[in-house]
C-alpha cells in the first residue's frame, strides 16, 4: 500500500496531502465541473487595441437555436467597473475599448459549437482611436490617452525615492557604470487556464467555484461591479491548476456571476481556452530600466541612480504595487549609501499587466545583477568578492533607506555558494568546452520582500474544528495554487495537535466556511496563515486538554498528550478518544479561531509620488544566491544551461520536499523568462498567441538543479520560516546574462536571449570573424 506518513513533524519531508487525489485524477479543479443541465458562457472580445464602441449587433446571435442569452453592458446592473485598487475595468465594454482582449458581449449557449457560432455572429461598430504602445512615449505630451478622465494623462503612478545625495556621491566615485535593460511581457501559461462554475442556489445566493487566488476579495469586486449584496455571493476556491499571480483578482468571476443571473436557474461554466488566456489574461509588466552605478576604487558601492519605466497596459490592476516592490529591490541586497530611484508606470493599449511571481523584482534584479557584474569586470574584481563586500547584513539599510530589522542571510548564501564544489571547480569546467562551444558561469544575489507592506493589512484568520466524529478539521484559508500551503496547514496542525492523516480533514477556501485570510500572493501564504494557525492550534490544544482533564477527573492538564484520535494521560495511561470528547463539548467550543496580522515597517520612507503608494516599504526579506553553468554554441547562438545552483535563506524549512518544489519551479520559470519566452506584441496585438509560438521550458530545457537552504531562524515566522514562493524566479535571467558575458564577452540588452539575439550580438562584437 502507499507509504503514508503518520507523524506530521515539522522539518520532515512528508509527501503532500493533495498528491494522492491529484495523481489519480480524482481531484476536481474549477475547470472540472459539469452537470446534466449546465450552460456554457463565453465572451466576444474586441480584437482592436483602442476604439470607441458605437453599437453592438446581437440579434443574429440571439436568434440562434441553443443560445439562451446574449448580454451587453446594457444588461449589467451595478457600476460595470472592476479592479483591485482602481475600479477602471469594465466587465463588458460600454464606451471605450482599451485593449484587444476587452470583453464586449457575453453569450450563454447549450453547447460549445453553438457558443462559437453565436460569437461569430456578433458584430460591433467602432471608431478606431490612435493608440499608444510604448510606456515612455505614453508619458509624452501629445500621446493618445487611454483613460481620458485621468488627470495625470497616461501616468498611473510615479514614485521617487532618494537616500543621501546621489549627485555629490557620483563625484566621489572612481568608477561609474551605465546600462540599460529591457524585459518583455511574460505569460503565466498555467496548465489550467482561467475557469469557473456558477449557479444560483435555492436560497437565491450566487455560488461561484473559481480558479482564484483571491476568493474573499473577489466577492467585494463582484458585488461592486454588478451591484449585488456581498452577502449574496459565495466564492469557493478548489486547488488551482497553477496561477503564479495570473489569477490574483477577477478573471471569469464577474462574467460568471452575470451569466448565472441570466441562465434561467441553470449552472454556468466558463473556461477560457489557451488563446483566450493569452489574449485576455494579465501578464508580467514589461520594463525598461536605466541604471547608473558608482563605486569607490576598492569596490565599495557608493551611488545608484535608476529610472524605471513599467507598462501596465489598459488597467491599473496591481501595477503601482508591482512598481513599488521593484523600486524597493532596484539596488539589490547591497549597501548603497546614496541612491535615487525613480519609477513611472504608464497606461498603454498593450496587453494588460498584472501580478506574476516576483511582482517587479525579476525585472530590476535582471538589471542590477548585470550592473554588479559589469562593475566587477571594470574593477577587475571577482564577481563573488564584490558581492560579498557589499552584501547587506541585519541592521543595514536597503536601497530605499529602510533598516533590515529581520533575518538577513545574503552573506550566508554567498558564503555557502563560495564553498560549494560548483563554484570551486568552475574554471576547470569552463576550460573543457568542446568544439564551437563557449562556456561561462554566472552569479547572482537577490532579495525578495514578502507581504503587503504597511498599508493593506496582511492578516489571516485561522480556524480549526473538532467534528462530532472526533476528527480535526483544518481550514486552509489561503488558496492552494500548487505551492502546497494546504498540505503545510495539515503538517503544522498535525505537529502541534499530534494528529495524523487519518485523524485530520482539510477544507479548502470557501467564503461560507473559512475566514478571510487574504490572497495567495506576496510569498505570504504560509507565513501569515501559518502564524494564525499555530496560535489557533495551541489555543485549541489547551481547551481540549482542559475538557479532557474534566472527563478524566484529573486536577491539571500538565501530563496530557495528544495522540492521533485521542488524548492520553501519560502517568496513568488513560485515554479519551477525541470522538468522545467532541460529544461532551458544546458545538461552540468545538471551533477555535485565531487572528494574525503580520508586522509592518515602523520607519516612514521619504518619497514623492503622484498618487497614494501601497506596498512600500517591506520588513521581511528572503535572500538567495544563484550560480549557473552555461554553454553557448558559436555557430547557432543557442544557449544550454548545464547546471543550476541556488542557495536560499528562507528561514527554517518546514518541509524539505516542498522547499525544493518551490525553488525548482521558480528557477524553471526564470529560465524560460531568460531564454525562450519571447512574448511578441505588435500594435497591441499578440503575435505569440499560444503554446506553439510562445515557448515555455520542457523537460529538455531545464537542467538538473541543486537547491540548498541556509536555515537562519526567523523569529517572527511560523517555526522560523520566511516566504519562499517567489525568490527563486528572480535569479535566472541575470545569472544567464552574466554567464553569457563570462563565456563570450557579450551582453544582450533585450531579453529573452534567443539564439537570434545571441548570434547578432556575437557578430556585432566580432564582425570580422567568419563563421560557416
Amino acid at each position: 500500500m502507499l507509504v503514508k506518513s503518520d507523524i506530521f513533524k515539522i522539518g520532515s519531508a512528508i509527501p503532500r496531502a493533495d498528491a494522492l487525489s491529484k495523481v489519480t485524477g480524482q481531484e476536481k479543479y474549477a475547470a472540472d465541473y459539469y452537470s446534466p443541465n449546465f450552460v456554457w458562457a463565453a465572451v466576444k472580445r474586441a480584437g482592436v487595441p483602442h476604439a470607441r464602441l458605437k453599437s453592438i449587433a446581437v440579434e443574429a446571435a440571439r436568434k440562434l437555436p441553443g443560445v439562451l442569452s446574449v448580454l451587453t453592458h446594457k444588461d449589467l446592473p451595478g457600476s460595470n467597473r472592476q479592479g483591485i485598487i482602481f475600479k477602471d475595468q469594465p466587465v463588458l465594454v460600454d464606451a471605450k475599448i482599451r485593449h484587444c482582449g476587452d470583453a464586449i458581449v457575453l453569450v450563454l449557449a447549450e453547447d460549445k459549437p453553438t457558443l462559437n457560432k453565436a460569437l461569430h455572429l456578433i458584430n460591433f461598430d467602432y471608431e478606431p482611436l490612435p493608440a499608444i504602445f510604448d510606456p515612455e512615449k505614453a508619458l509624452e505630451e501629445r500621446a493618445p490617452l487611454v483613460h481620458e478622465n485621468n488627470p495625470d494623462g497616461n501616468l498611473l503612478q510615479h514614485i521617487s525615492v532618494k537616500v543621501g545625495d546621489v549627485k555629490e556621491a557620483f563625484l566621489e566615485c572612481t568608477t561609474i557604470i551605465e546600462g540599460s535593460f529591457e524585459v518583455p511581457f511574460q505569460e503565466h501559461a498555467y496548465l489550467e487556464t482561467e475557469a469557473g462554475w456558477a449557479y444560483l442556489a435555492e436560497d437565491g445566493r450566487l455560488v461561484i467555484v473559481a480558479s482564484t487566488q483571491t476568493p474573499f476579495r473577489d466577492r467585494f469586486e463582484i458585488a461592486s461591479a454588478l451591484g449585488l449584496n456581498i452577502d449574496k455571493i459565495r466564492v469557493i476556491a478548489p486547488y488551482l491548476g497553477g496561477a503564479f499571480g495570473g489569477k490574483d483578482g477577477l478573471t471569469v468571476q464577474s462574467l460568471l456571476a452575470l451569466a448565472a443571473l441570466n441562465s434561467q436557474g441553470r449552472p454556468v461554466k466558463m473556461w477560457w481556452d489557451r488563446e483566450e488566456s493569452f489574449l485576455a489574461g494579465v501578464k508580467r509588466l514589461p520594463a525598461r530600466m536605466y541604471y547608473r552605478l558608482g563605486a569607490k576604487a576598492d569596490g565599495t558601492l557608493h551611488a545608484l541612480d535608476c529610472r524605471l519605466y513599467f507598462d501596465t497596459g489598459p488597467y491599473a490592476h496591481l501595477s503601482s504595487e508591482i512598481m513599488a516592490l521593484a523600486m524597493e529591490h532596484a539596488g539589490g541586497p547591497y549597501r548603497i549609501p546614496h541612491t535615487s530611484i525613480k519609477g513611472w508606470c504608464a497606461y498603454t493599449n498593450n496587453p494588460p499587466g498584472g501580478p506574476f511571481r516576483g511582482f517587479g523584482v525579476p525585472q530590476v534584479t535582471a538589471a542590477m545583477e548585470q550592473m554588479i557584474d559589469m562593475l566587477a569586470a571594470k574593477l577587475k574584481m571577482d564577481p563573488l568578492e564584490i558581492r560579498r563586500q557589499n552584501a547587506v547584513r541585519q541592521g543595514d539599510r536597503n536601497c530605499v533607506g529602510v533598516t533590515l530589522v529581520n533575518s538577513t542571510g545574503a552573506l550566508d548564501c554567498l558564503e555557502t555558494l563560495a564553498a560549494h564544489p560548483l563554484w570551486q571547480e568552475r574554471k576547470k569546467w569552463k576550460e573543457s568546452a568542446g568544439p564551437f562551444k563557449l562556456r561561462g558561469v554566472g552569479l547572482t544575489c537577490m532579495a525578495h520582500g514578502s507581504g503587503y507592506g504597511p498599508v493593506i493589512p496582511d492578516e489571516a484568520n485561522a480556524k480549526i474544528e473538532l467534528t462530532d466524529e472526533g476528527k480535526l478539521r483544518i481550514f486552509c484559508g489561503v488558496s492552494d495554487m500548487g505551492q502546497g500551503n494546504a498540505s503545510t496547514c495539515l503538517q503544522i496542525a498535525g505537529d502541534i495537535l499530534g494528529q495524523d492523516a487519518d485523524s485530520m480533514e482539510l477544507i479548502l477556501p470557501d467564503t461560507d466556511r473559512s475566514l478571510p485570510s487574504g490572497s495567495a500572493s506576496a510569498s505570504r501564504c504560509t507565513y501569515t496563515y501559518g502564524n494564525a494557525l499555530i496560535r489557533a492550534a495551541q489555543a485549541f490544544k489547551q481547551r481540549l486538554f482542559e475538557r479532557a482533564s474534566t472527563l478524566l477527573m484529573i486536577p491539571t492538564s500538565d501530563d496530557l498528550s495528544l495522540i492521533p484520535g485521542g488524548i492520553r494521560h501519560l502517568p496513568s495511561g488513560k485515554e479519551v478518544p477525541l470522538s468522545q470528547l467532541a460529544q461532551l463539548m458544546d458545538p461552540s467550543e468545538r471551533t477555535c479561531t485565531h487572528y494574525y496580522r503580520a508586522p509592518v515597517a515602523q520607519e516612514k520612507l521619504e518619497l514623492h509620488s503622484s498618487s497614494k503608494v501601497f506596498g512600500l516599504p517591506h520588513i521581511l526579506f528572503s535572500y538567495a544566491a544563484h550560480l549557473t553553468y552555461l554553454e553557448v554554441d558559436e555557430l547557432t547562438g543557442e544557449i544550454e544551461i548545464k547546471t543550476y545552483l541556488s542557495v536560499s535563506d528562507c528561514g527554517r524549512v518546514i518541509n524539505p520536499q516542498i522547499y525544493e518544489q518551490q525553488i525548482q519551479g521558480g528557477i524553471a520559470q526564470g529560465l524560460g523568462y531568460a531564454l525562450s519566452e519571447d512574448f511578441i506584441v505588435e500594435e497591441g496585438k499578440g503575435l505569440t498567441p499560444d503554446l506553439s509560438t510562445y515557448i515555455i521550458p520542457t523537460t529538455l530545457d531545464v537542467p538538473e538543479m541543486v537547491s540548498i537552504p541556509v536555515e537562519i531562524d526567523e523569529p517572527t515566522g511560523p517555526f522560523g520560516l520566511k516566504g519562499i514562493g517567489e525568490i527563486s524566479i528572480n535569479g535566472p535571467l541575470p545569472a544567464v546574462a552574466n554567464a553569457l558575458a563570462d563565456a563570450c564577452g557579450i551582453r544582450v540588452s533585450r531579453s529573452p536571449f534567443t539564439p537570434e539575439r545571441v548570434l547578432s550580438a556575437m557578430k556585432e562584437k566580432a564582425p570580422h570573424e567568419v563563421k560557416p
Partner: protein, 138 residues
Amino acid sequence: MPSDRRVIDILREDLNLTGTKEGCGAGECGGCTILVDGESRLSCLMLAAQLEGRSVTTIEGIASEDRLHPLQEAFVEHGAVQCGFCIPGMVLSAVDLLQRNPNPTRMEIRQGLSGNLCRCTGYQKIVDAVKAGALKIK
C-alpha cells in the same frame, strides 16, 4: 454521438472522467494524454471515430483495486506533484515510456516526457519519480 466529437470531450463530459485535462486544445501541452491500445495519444486531437474497436485507458484506470500504479506511488513519494494539472498526462506518458524502455536514463526520461509541459515543478522531481517508478515496476 457525432463521429467528430473530440475524445477529450467524450471522456470529460459524457463519461464524467475529468482526470484527463485540457491545457491547450492543440496538441502542444500533453495534458490530455491517454493510452489507446496501450500507446500514448493526445485526446484533444482525436475524434470519436478514431476510437472504433480500440481500448482506452485514462488516469482513472491505471491503479488496481487496492493499490496505486507504481508510477503513481513514486510521483507522490518524490514530490513530483504540485498543482497537479499536468500530472495525469505526465503519468500516462511515463507509463508509455517505461513500456518501451523499462530502464531509461534520466536523459531518456526527459526525452520521453518532452511533450508534456509542466509549469510548476521544473521537472526534476518528475524525472526522479519516473526513475524510481521504473525500479518499482521491476
